[in-house]
């Protein structure tokens, strides 16, 4: 049984034998209209006499069909997704207009509709469901296991899947040292970026003698191109709360915060509802599981500052101040929120905690590598056939993730290009680039660090040959420059100068000295900054300089951008040997820069040309070159 099959099995056993229709209601699918599909199902199903049940029931009536929403199922590009159980059918790109046919053919007559099934681009075969789709087959979903099956807003369903069992155990059967010890033994490392051992962090806060301590869940997933935490908070909010409760029990805290990014309104809403429901059920409150212990959690919405992902900046933000980092030590575990011992863990880290308590440290260590146990979710995006959320054991190779699960790199027209793979950017603005030579590198904390990259939060952006690496470095530098809080001079001014130097490269003003200066300044910013933002801000530049130096030199020496992205360096020309003088380019040109007689090669007037590329797009013979 592969994981996808196991998931279906689990979903069925915990929900009885009743039939289910699950509509993905993650941000991606909602944007594509999944809520309209959900409404249409609720309307059409009773019309043909089906007994529709919306909420979770432990023992469903024999003929009932449960229709529910779920969190992100991960296969975002193919959304809206509709899963039908027990058949395990997964319909992709479902529209409200398709619902009638789904109800008539599949739900009433038990027949699958081929045109809504996923078509494997490699085998050209229809995949019946998640169990046959390579994207799902090759993953091992632990953190995301329930995401996509349970209704994130239904606490009863979470409990029926064994939810809050670990928290109950932590509060009623275990003491604080035992929990810290277990987490330490499991080898769990923080998923937010640094990979610091979670158990050691907890132990450091536990030994502090303070009557008041805090726990904070870091849901300020600011890395552009990463959405793992969003998906967990939206898809299984209670698993995050459970992890936070266990963390609180482990260090002796009775108050916690979940700090969620303001750009994630759905995650904020679902986390708030989860807290409310947990309080109503007596799971959170003044008497947790009847243990006599208190635990309260508040959900706080961020206000748009990347630096708040830094622990000390987040604390400042919760205290109602500008989110600026403070020097460490003292570490938050010693003196954090309101100067009390505080631990801050990432969403994905906390979502693993319940599982570790449930299955034990040994079982947890059985997955992943010795140095990085467990699984990691990656947000796979960019020029790749299957974009979405991917969870694999640590140590899985880049090849497996991008080429097999991701289905290969695509060209600008969205078609799979076998030789298209140029680079993968990992870890967002703090990370680095991986190139074809790293395809067989096991992805874990230590081996990534050895090649100048980092796991970071887990954003993986695949890039094809038409991507200019200097522009990519500039993109991240612009981001960190904008997000620098301004406290440290080297970060505030240094990122600004790095950006200006990159602009020189892109706009053709750079000299070979510019590249040397970029390196020197990059290292200086790393050394002279207080927090992770500044320390890692030069990484994208330094890493692209390391692996794509020839591309930088091309810009600087030959004043050429081989990807054809840097406008100032473009010299569009019509190749007279290819041009047949059809006039399509002339018609497409908005500024009248192209002239020529019919059936004779045309030419571009460089003084009028605005380098928009419309001529190249219009030409069927690829005669327009250099753009």
């Amino acid at each position: 049984m592969n994981t996808a099959e196991a998931q279906i099995h689990d979903a069925m056993t915990a929900t009885g034998t009743g039939r289910r229709v699950i509509v993905c209601a993650g941000t991606g699918c909602v944007a594509n209209g999944s809520l309209r599909v959900f409404e249409a199902l609720k309307r059409e199903m009773p019309a043909v006499g089906l007994n529709v049940v919306l909420e979770f029931r432990p023992e469903p009536a024999g003929d009932s069909v449960r229709v529910s929403e779920s969190g992100c199922q991960g296969f975002c590009q193919m959304g809206p997704l509709v899963t039908i159980l027990p058949e395990g059918i997964l319909y992709t790109k479902v529209k409200a207009e398709d619902v009638k046919e789904i109800v008539d053919s599949t739900l009433v007559n038990g027949k699958a509709i081929d045109r809504l099934l996923y078509l494997d681009p490699q085998t050209r075969k229809h995949c019946h469901g998640a169990a046959d789709i390579p994207f799902y087959q090759r993953q091992s979903r632990m953190v995301l296991k329930e995401c996509g099956f349970i209704d994130p807003e239904d606490l009863t369903e979470f409990i029926a899947h064994g939810g809050y069992e670990s928290a109950r155990k932590a509060y009623l059967e275990m003491d604080a040292p035992a929990i810290c010890d277990l987490i330490l033994k499991s080898g769990l490392r923080g998923r937010g970026g640094g990979g610091f051992p979670t158990g050691r962090k907890w132990e450091a806060a536990r030994v502090q003698k303070s009557p008041k301590k805090y726990v904070i869940c870091n849901g300020d997933e600011g890395d552009p191109g990463a959405f793992m935490d969003r998906s967990v908070m939206e898809g299984n909010p209670h698993s995050v709360l459970e992890g936070l409760m266990i963390a609180a029990r482990a260090i002796g805290a009775d108050e916690g915060y979940v700090y969620v990014r303001a750009e994630y309104p759905l995650a904020v809403r679902r986390m708030r509802k989860a807290v409310k429901d947990a309080v109503a059920k007596g799971i959170l409150g003044d008497n947790v599981f009847g243990s006599g212990q208190k635990m309260w959690i508040d959900v706080m919405e961020g206000a748009g500052a990347f630096v708040c992902g830094e622990e000390t900046a987040m604390i400042a933000s919760i205290e109602g101040r500008r989110g600026m980092p403070a020097p460490k030590p003292p570490f938050p575990a010693q003196s954090g929120l309101w100067r009390k011992p505080t631990i801050i863990n990432n969403v994905e880290t906390l979502a693993q905690v319940g599982r570790i308590l449930n299955y034990g440290a040994e079982a947890y260590r059985g997955v992943g590598t010795a140095g990085s146990p467990g699984t990691k979710t990656f947000a796979l995006t960019g020029h790749v056939a299957n974009t979405g959320l991917v969870e694999v054991p640590f140590g899985t190779t880049l090849r497996e993730i991008v080429l097999n699960i991701g289905g290969g790199v695509t060209n600008d027209k969205g078609k799979i290009d076998k030789n298209g793979f140029k680079a993968v950017q990992i870890g967002g603005p703090s990370g680095g680039c991986l190139t074809p030579e790293h395809l067989d590198l096991p992805m874990d904390f230590d081996s990534l660090r050895s090649v100048g990259a980092m796991v970071g939060s887990g954003g993986l952006v695949a890039m094809n040959q038409r991507t200019c690496m200097v522009s990519v470095a500039r993109f991240f530098m612009e981001f960190t420059q904008r997000e620098s809080c301004g406290k440290c001079v080297l970060c505030r001014e240094g990122t600004k100068q790095l950006l200006a130097l990159l602009d020189d490269v892109i706009e053709g003003r750079a000299t070979p000295d510019t590249l040397k200066l970029l390196e020197t300044l990059g290292h200086a910013v790393q050394k002279g900054s207080l927090c992770g933002l500044g320390k890692t801000a030069p990484n994208p530049v330094l890493s692209t300089l390391r692996y794509f130096r020839d591309e930088y030199e091309d810009h600087v020496i030959h004043k050429r951008c081989r990807a054809g992205r840097c406008k100032a360096l473009l010299r569009p020309e019509i190749n007279p040997l290819k041009c047949k003088g059809c006039g399509l380019c002339m018609k497409a040109c908005a500024v009248g820069a192209i002239t020529g007689e019919r059936k004779k090669p045309h030419s571009i007037n460089p003084d009028l040309c605005i380098k928009c590329g419309a001529c190249a797009k219009a030409c069927n013979l690829a005669a327009v070159e250099g753009i």
């Binding site: 941000t27 991606g28 909602v30 944007a31 594509n32 975002c76 590009q77 959304g79 997933e221 600011g222 890395d223 552009p224 191109g225 990463a226 959405f227 969003r230 990014r261 303001a262 750009e263 994630y264 309104p265 706080m300 919405e301 961020g302 206000a303 748009g304 500052a305 990347f306 933000s317 919760i318 205290e319 109602g320 101040r321 500008r322 989110g323 947000a379 995006t381 960019g382 020029h383 974009t387 979405g388 959320l389 950017q425 967002g428 954003g459 952006v461 890039m463 991507t467 990519v472 993109f475 991240f476 981001f479 997000e483 809080c485």
Partner: protein, 163 residues
């Protein structure tokens, strides 16, 4: 004071009371105030400072630090283009340029003079699977291109002229 201003002021006081006038809750207070006023007017910030018994500089400091707080009023329709990594490598910038051209706004002046549209970029909306992503008045549109983006704006313009 016009009746609507008076109503809004009452609402402001209610927000402050709801958070027990605690300076520690400054961020959520400003978020609630912005929800009400659609931006943070200067006199309101000064009043918040007085009510919380903190210097106005502290309130201004917080209001200018976070990207979500706007000190200028925004247009009736807010268009946000995602410029996260995934959207960027899938060519979000030409969409931004097309929208700015269509509406005559730029980096400095994000809002049209008739206060109808505001065009801004956001770091990442976390809907990377649908890149490039455009959000118009909180409705997410995925897999955008410059032509479709301009069409969406034209549709809104058409509706507004009819009204």
């Amino acid at each position: 004071m016009s009746p609507s201003t008076a109503q809004k002021f009452q609402k402001l006081c209610r927000i402050l009371d709801e958070y027990h006038r605690q300076p520690a809750r400054l961020v959520p207070i400003l978020q609630a105030v912005q929800e009400e006023y659609r931006y943070l007017p200067e006199e309101v910030l000064t009043y918040v400072a007085t009510a919380l018994r903190v210097p106005p500089a502290r309130v201004f400091g917080v209001a200018t630090f976070y990207a979500h707080f706007a000190l200028e009023p925004k247009g009736k329709h807010v268009i946000r283009l995602c410029d996260g990594t995934a959207c960027h490598v899938k060519n979000s910038i030409p969409i931004l340029e097309a929208l700015r051209n269509r509406l005559g706004v730029d980096e400095e002046h994000k809002t049209t003079p008739d206060m109808m549209f505001t065009v801004e970029t956001v770091a990442c909306l976390g809907a990377c699977g649908l890149a490039p992503v455009l959000v118009i008045d909180d409705e997410v549109h995925g897999q955008m291109d410059p032509e479709r983006a301009v069409t969406l704006v034209d549709e809104i313009l058409k509706k507004e002229t009819v009204q």
